[in-house]
């Protein structure tokens, strides 16, 4: 049968297949149902956080002590909390803080991690040992103890401080990923080939090594963002996070520490809990989808 294929047809087919590695990755990602579902869910959550003022006209920080722990009504869709603040408004605005903290901490961590990992993986030797031993040290410190210590000694906990605390304790994960990728890629002949052309170190790093390491970097940064959102919620839950009345999902959950609210008012703590769950799950699905898209072999292996 193969003999019947018209050669020009075959040529046209080949032309259509001419896709860059990035296009192929996008194609594989879009074919992953779980990842696309995660993408849609996360987009909805982000949109609802951005457009919070359009969805509710209640100020999430305004306390009204005459209206505490109200059941859901047409005025307050999810009732009010123990200080009389509107739960629905806090849910929407809280998403902003949680997502912003997760995203900026991830970017910050990514910058430190890529910079240190690049230096360690490319130059090797003493500087590599120095960076990696320091990374090991940072990873060996228990996150909560370190974070609580820092937060306990500063007067005011701001979002920037929070981002900083999360980032400085998580960057070694990315350093390891970047360094590992560089060590593998450095052995590939195309790096030697660039050296034979007289390429500078900068060109080798930015044109040859980083573009080929970008897959694992993005995947791990995404998964790290999910962890960071959980960290923020955990800290806020035990009251060591962003202080009230700023709404965050973690702050809303801390209401559930009260046994009466836990029992009688599930509408106060279930939505933020679900929001965290959905966000983290979506991000993880996206991360897994990205991993399969960048490295198709990994999904075949696990099957």
């Amino acid at each position: 049968m193969n003999n019947n294929i018209n050669p020009t047809m075959e040529y046209k087919q080949r032309e259509q297949q001419a896709k860059s590695p990035r296009q192929l990755a996008v194609q594989r990602f879009m074919a992953n149902k779980l990842a696309v579902t995660g993408m849609i869910t996360l987009t909805l959550i982000i949109l609802s956080a951005i457009f919070a003022p359009l969805l509710t006209n209640i100020d999430p920080t305004r306390a009204d002590l005459t209206l505490i722990e109200q059941a859901p009504s047409s005025d307050h869709l999810l009732g009010t909390d123990s200080s009389g603040r509107d739960n629905f408004a806090r849910l929407l605005y809280g998403g902003r803080i949680s997502l912003v903290i997760g995203f900026s901490a991830m970017m910050f961590s990514l910058m430190i991690g890529v910079a240190t990992g690049t230096i360690a993986g490319f130059y090797g030797g003493k500087i590599d040992s120095l960076i990696m031993r320091f990374a090991d040290l940072m990873l060996a410190l228990p996150f909560f103890v370190l974070a609580l210590t820092i937060i306990a000694i500063v007067d005011e906990v701001t979002i920037a401080l929070f981002v900083f605390v999360i980032a400085i304790t998580t960057w070694p994960n990315l350093t390891r990923i970047v360094r590992g990728s560089f060590l593998t890629l450095r052995e590939r002949e195309f790096v030697l080939s660039a050296q034979a052309l007289g390429a500078t170190n900068g060109r080798i790093i930015f044109k040859h090594l980083l573009p080929n390491a970008i897959g694992p970097i993005i995947v791990n940064a995404t998964l790290l963002m999910a962890t960071m959102i959980i960290l923020e919620s955990g800290m806020s839950f035990i009251g060591m996070g962003i202080p009230q009345p700023t709404p965050t999902w973690g702050n809303m959950l801390s209401e559930a520490q009260n046994i009466r609210i836990l029992r009688d008012h599930p509408e106060a703590w279930l939505p933020p809990g679900l929001a965290i769950l959905l966000t983290v799950l979506s991000i993880n699905f996206i991360g897994d989808g990205l991993r399969d898209a960048f490295d198709p072999r990994s999904s075949q292996r696990s099957k």
Partner: protein
């Protein structure tokens, strides 16, 4: 005027070598323990000297582990030599640092072994070829585009291939891209490191012929490294036989293949399946495997495996001596003749 004299030089195949290697050594230290103490050396290249003349192809043959690839890399300063000198025309490249070396890289290029690893998968063919020009020249964009377009034609690929990525090509096509990438700079000297070993035998011929055609067209000088004797025979004018980092025999191709002197050369030729080469040759079989280059035998490197080895072979290392016109051999068997 300069061009004129150059052309005359090529025609005469003058005796000024394009590349000269003198007592080149590359030792890799073996480090052990927590203090990284050096406990020994792998002598990948162990005192090699030879000249390569303009326009010729020097073949380098030897088993895996004989130091052929290391030799190629050290000659292009992709690894720094432990001792010895490398000359390009009259320039001593040995002690040039990376920046000073950069300007010579336009003339000294390399074609790599594995076409699946030597092309950056994230760059398309146009970017891959343009990179050579971006690094080495200051040509404007339009000039670069013209050069890339003409080079891709020279290696037998289509203009429409320029927008494609390496994963869309077969091994042979990828190797053509590698060749284009090295030759777009119009180098003088090209090291071909096992450049066809990773390809199917049916494709090898095409790529080899392409390399030969381009050699004539661009007046290239090749150093052709391979473990495949028939490929080296097809490509080379002269052949050097390497074993454990040393040259055993170096001679014109005809002499190596028709009148090999060194027992190792004879053994290599005996290993070619019959039918490829005609005529009955003295058959030499070696005992055992190639020794570790970290712990080479005393005396002649081949002494542990050579069927003709006698007392002196185990004590003294033979020197590479001129046997007859253009044939040098490092073997005690021929020293007293």
């Amino acid at each position: 005027m300069v061009i004129e004299t150059e052309r005359v030089a090529v025609e005469q195949k003058t005796l000024t070598p394009l590349i000269r290697v003198n007592e080149l050594e590359k030792y890799f230290p073996i480090k052990k323990g927590i203090l990284k103490k050096t406990v020994g050396h792998v002598k990948a290249v162990d005192g090699i000297s030879f000249d390569i003349y303009e326009g010729e192809t020097l073949g380098i043959v030897g088993e895996s582990g004989s130091g052929k690839s290391t030799l190629g890399r050290v000659m292009l300063k992709l690894a720094s030599p432990t001792a010895g000198e490398i000359y390009y025309q009259s320039t001593n490249l040995t002690h040039l640092n990376r920046n000073d070396m950069r300007s010579y890289r336009q003339d000294l290029q390399m074609i790599f072994q594995d076409p699946f690893s030597s092309l950056n998968p994230k760059m398309n063919v146009y970017e891959l070829l343009e990179e050579s020009l971006l690094i080495q020249t200051r040509l404007p964009k339009e000039e670069r585009r013209k050069k890339v377009a003409s080079m891709i034609g020279k290696v037998g690929l289509r203009q429409s291939d320029l927008q494609k990525y390496p994963h869309e090509f077969s091994g042979g096509q990828r190797q053509r891209i590698s060749i284009a990438r090295a030759l777009i700079l119009e180098p003088k000297f090209v090291v071909c490191d096992e450049s066809v070993s990773a390809l199917d035998v049916s494709i090898q011929g095409q790529v080899l012929n392409l390399m030969k055609d381009l050699q004539d067209e661009l007046r290239l000088t090749y150093m052709f490294i391979s473990h495949d004797l028939s490929v080296v025979h097809h490509m080379s004018d002269r052949v050097a036989v390497m074993y454990l980092g040393q040259i055993m025999e170096i001679a014109k191709k005809e002499a190596i293949y028709d009148n090999p002197l060194h027992p190792y050369t004879k053994a290599l030729l005996s290993s070619i399946p019959t039918g490829v080469e005609e005529g009955v040759r003295e058959e030499v079989r070696l005992k055992g495997d190639i020794p570790s280059p970290a712990n080479p035998p005393k005396g002649c490197p081949l002494s542990t495996r050579c069927p003709f080895a006698f007392d002196r072979c185990h004590k003294e290392t033979p020197e590479l001596l001129k046997k007859n016109d253009d044939q040098q051999v490092a073997c005690h068997l021929y020293e007293n003749e």
